[in-house]
Symmetry: C2
């Protein structure tokens, strides 16, 4: 049995399929998936799906990358709120420092921009996020999936098949 | 490259993730996915996601099971409309006759009930569909996934990880 563990950080107004389809893919493969949000409890996506946040980001350890195999950042309006939270940014930095996989889709890369992690990285994002991605020093590419080392990026829900494929490749 | 092909039959008011997550899973694995509906063109799920129906069910061949490796029937309110369409029922019968995989989730099994295919089959479905499943002679089980030969059944969106796992096992 797979004993791996994945951390999703998201919040209300997440893009529903960008959370649910990767989560279902990871559960299918036997991973335990923890959802962390600004507060523990139910969160609601843009389209109305609800997901239980298992813990608040404040409950994460000092180095969350020690507890998880991958950090997943879905899109929607959630990253716009999360990027202002220091614990969220420190968590992203913990995964970066440890060289552990970080997968961000749509508006998810906004968190990585605020954490100062994307300079000189090949990356993609939702179209409207591209300008700030470039301002942060990332090398923007308009592709369904962009992989740079332990980072995986996609643009929107239509890219989920390629996004999930590269997530699973990172974990293999 | 995977040259397999899967047929999804659905309609307006499909349960969004029951269509999108399995479709994304199959696309990830390299399958071509055709969506057939009562009419060709855009259809809209209960939560508002839109999907393009590549063809109308009338455009399917005489024996659609020759053209596809698996038939997928998502839930929502769509199966309630589709079960009254003879071409939909004949398509399900074609897969049954050929012994090819049929995967149905939530209200999806309603189509198989109307096609007269579930007598003495082990099956599951959305709770509210269980009585008519039993009336049709199926052996109902309240489990996240039930596999009987080339048939795969699940109950609701929370079962998608197990549902997709068994879909992929059927195709392996």
């Amino acid at each position: 049995m797979n004993t791996g563990r994945v951390l999703i950080i998201t919040a209300d107004d997440f893009e529903d399929t960008e959370l649910l389809c990767p989560m279902n893919r990871l559960l299918e493969a036997g991973y335990t998936v923890d959802v962390a949000s600004l507060q523990k409890g139910s969160i609601t996506g843009k389209k109305g799906y609800t997901v239980d946040a298992d813990l608040s980001v404040e409950e994460l350890s000092e180095e969350p990358s020690r507890d998880y195999d991958l950090l997943l950042l879905p899109g929607g309006k959630a990253p716009g709120k999360l990027r202002e939270n220091d614990k969220v940014l420190d968590t992203a930095r913990s995964f970066d420092k440890a060289g552990k996989p970080i997968a961000a889709i749509c508006h998810g890369p906004q968190i990585l921009i605020s954490a100062g992690l994307l300079k000189d990285k090949q990356a993609t994002s939702y179209t409207s996020v591209a300008p700030e991605l470039k301002d942060a020093g990332a090398l923007y590419e308009d592709a369904e999936v962009v992989v740079d080392g332990n980072y995986v990026f996609s643009r929107h829900p239509g890219d989920i098949p390629a996004f999930n494929r590269e997530i699973m490749a990172q974990l293999a």
